[in-house]
């Protein structure tokens, strides 16, 4: 067992974990953070996407011990403390960018990362940027729309300030 200390969604946590434990398993099983889900076993689907020190990672592809000392944000830590949704969450809702919701946490986390890196992406850039996140329900069209909606909302907010 190895001791890890990290911050997850703003809370400091401390646990003994097996070295082979994946970050996604640590989140779900040890911390009860079931918002992050497992969709495959070959790191193709991206449903497990979280932010590690501000960048998106597939948490099935990161060992829990690799997150020692890091700051992890999951879908559950995205909204404000007062309950206000993150712009990307709001955009997914407005644009019907989800149906069953299984891919959604990972899709949202990756979209946030995409917009952090590229605040005004083209449709093609969005599609390529989300290539690592599979969705079986939506056909992606409204997901792309949601990201465009969020980009545009962020831009107007930027103008207003």
């Amino acid at each position: 067992m190895t001791k890890i200390n990290l911050t997850v969604d703003g809370a400091t946590v401390s646990d003994d974990v097996e070295p082979r434990m994946l970050l996604v398993q640590y989140l779900r099983e040890s911390l009860g953070k079931t918002g992050t889900v497992i969709g495959c076993d070959t790191s193709n689907c991206g449903a497990c996407t979280v932010h590690l020190n501000g960048r998106s990672v597939k948490s099935c592809n990161v060992l829990a011990v690799q997150a020692d000392g890091a700051e992890v944000t999951t879908i559950e830590g995205l909204a404000q403390e007062n309950g206000d949704l993150h712009q990307v969450q709001e955009s997914f809702h407005q644009c019907h960018g989800l149906q069953c919701g299984f891919c959604t946490p990972g899709m949202i986390m990756q979209s946030v990362d995409l917009l952090n890196e590229n605040p005004n992406p083209s449709e093609q850039e969005i599609r390529l940027g989300l290539e690592g996140n599979l969705c079986r329900c939506t056909g992606y069209q409204n997901i792309v729309k949601a990201v465009q909606h969020a980009a545009s909302a962020n831009a107007s907010e930027g103008d207003a300030s």
Binding site: E18, R28, E29, G32, K33, T34, G35, T36, V37, I38, G39, C40, D41, T42, N44, C45, A47, T74, I75, E76, L78, A79, L85, Q89, F92, H93, Q94, H96, L98, Q99, C100, G101, F102, C103, T104, P105, I108, E123, I126, R127, L128, L130, E131, G132, N133, L134, C135, R136, C137, T138, G139, Y140, Q141, N142, I143, V144
Partner: protein, 816 residues
Amino acid sequence: MTVVEEPTSAPEIGRDRRRKEDQRLITGRTKWTDNIVLPGMLHMAMVRSPFAHATITNIDLTDAKAAPNVVAVYSGADLDESAGVLINAWPITPDQVTPAHPPIPTDRVTFAGEIVAVIVARTAAEARDAAELVDVDYDELPAAVDLKEAAADKVLAHPDLGTNKSALWVFDSAAAGTGSDVEDAIAKARTDGVVVEREFRQQRLIPAFMEPRSVVVDPSGEQLTMWTASQVPHIVRFALAATTGVPESKIRVIAPDVGGGFGGKLQVTPEEWIAWWVARQVHRPVKYTETRSESLMAAHHGRDQWQKLTLSAEKDGTVTGFKVELTADLGSYISLVGGGVPVLGAFMFNSIYKFPAYHFACQTVLTNKAWTDAYRGAGRPEATFGIERMMDELAVETGIEPMELRQKNWITHDEFPFTTVAGLEYDSGNYEAATEEAMANFGYDELRAEQKQRRESGDTVQLGIGISTFTEMCGLAPSRVLGSLDYGAGGWEHASVRMMATGTVEVITGATAHGQGHATAFSQIVSDRLGVPFEDVQVLAGDTAISSKGMDTYGSRSLVVGGEALVKAVDKVIEKAKPVAAHLLEASIDDISFKGGTFSVAGTDQGMTIQEIALATFAAHNLPDGMEPSLDADATFDPVNFNYPHGTHLCAMEVDTETGQVTMRKYTCVDDIGTVINPLIVEGQVHGGLAQGIAQALFEEAVHDEAGTLVSGSFVDYLVPTAADLINFDVSHRSTPALTNTLGTKGVGEAGTIASTPAVVNAVIDAVRHLGVADIQMPCTPERVWKAIQSAGAGGAEPTTADAMPHFDPAEGAEQ
């Protein structure tokens, strides 16, 4: 009593309401089955056969049993009668050959991935670790893998059954009295007309819902509870009661939030049955969640047919007959409705065309592969592919423009209701109007002009245009029709409306959503009908203790059947409230009318809202004599017919003739799905359906090697499309209301998938037809397209390479 106010808000039906479901889904508060943790819960892991067909000569559980924190290990030999069997609810013929299907076999495995032992341990990791310690000795047997060879009984999937041929289902229009004799039509066309004969492959697909299947069973309590990621909790409860000796009244099945199904979670599974049995052995809650690899391998597959098609027509393109001969792969067991999936397509090959003669025959065949069952469209995509490919082939043979050829043969809008050669009555539709709109939106003439220009200039990138004009039969299903087809259950749906004392409404539906947005759409329907605010309606579903009655969700039925049950229940509530209103308003019941949630007295401004009536009924201080103090009502609706949405789909594909690479340039569709309740939800269903239909055309195939091992066993090789693989679709709708339900709805869940596959394949072939290509087998990978062009006319019909890494044998030369 209150003064009547004019309703000021717009109707809910037709409104693009954002979904009620979203709040928990976008914040990570979703209730997946795998989230469930119960006190003392144990975890299960499965040991699965690597061989497609083998005798189990020995299973040694000793080391596994001794592994840390292992509570129990079971093999097939440990199971008793209370483990039950997995049933086939639809034997399509009385003499169907049906293998017995225990949850764990005792002596022989019949497909690669079949469960041979189960470990029960304190943690999931410990269970998986111990699974690797189970020692199984197998004697490999020859496996029936190739469908055509299996149909010829070359190798038997079940030697004890003596054959692989399970059932031959036939429909003949002459025999049924719905048309003339197809053999006469073909014979005549051979001399005086045109006969088109083709063979197409409907490749095996994997539904690949994003949430892996999961099941939890808690055997404590008065009722045994099973949570399962399923589309069909009511059907699961029925089947558990019917096969495992536990009375139905002692069974509670809950489908919590379910992450997609597409027909793939319409099943009764060995995993569920094993969990059910194990929990009762260890007397503790147990959980099993599959990995993606297990899911791709063992959750049921879709499609998998060879189609031999013969179409006869007059020289001017008027169709005279269609003969369909299918060979369909069942896998090694016949699943819940597996044998019947091709039969659902039997009535659809004639599609929207006025065929005078029609013959359909399907031979279902057992093989040593995972079982097949419903996958989005379930039989109708196969039918639509067959007919729409043949119409393009007929267009080429007769030299008639492919859209004109279709127009010549389809049912015109003033011919409805129309009884087809397959015996179905289509209630309403307008193929001409949908097509006109689609062609305009698509820019059909401009794209044809561009195609012509590229051909003339010999451009290396050619353009193809593919058409798919279709209808489908959904809203499964009228119970009498199901009975006549030997289906084991009915097709009704149930709804319950409960008026709360404080003014809000609980709606219970027997439909079971897994992404479709029922809570939102049903709230819209109730809000309009009952005149209560959208926010005040709470829709409950998926739990047999709450939704006591239902036939669940598949076959695009939830709105047309479930929504109709809902409407009927709401109308009953209004009828129950009327005498209360009359009594409290001291008026004659004949003077009471109901509008916008308010009962008013004719000729006065006096009225009462439904909420006020609900409170008065709850208090029961002043009700009419003899009235039960309740407004609540149930309704169970059995449809009288299927529903027939239709559409026109147009696809433009660019084909690089040097590399075989295909690129989708444009996709336009106009679908007539009757009344639209929520246009956002409808569009979303079409987008998702299109993606899956396009994926069949271009990307996906479940590939087995000669030994029967699934080599496309992960998302590395099974190519579910990504955002980068698809484009934005141009989706529009028309509404010719259905005549068979109050709301006029027709269903849309599967339409996109049904229509799109032939639109795409027709486009790819159209792009290179002038180079001599006659057919390209799906999926139209760059390699197949390139090979088809190179060997112009050979059809690119070589089987998909079954090795992830083709082997190079120096003695044999190039790749095998």
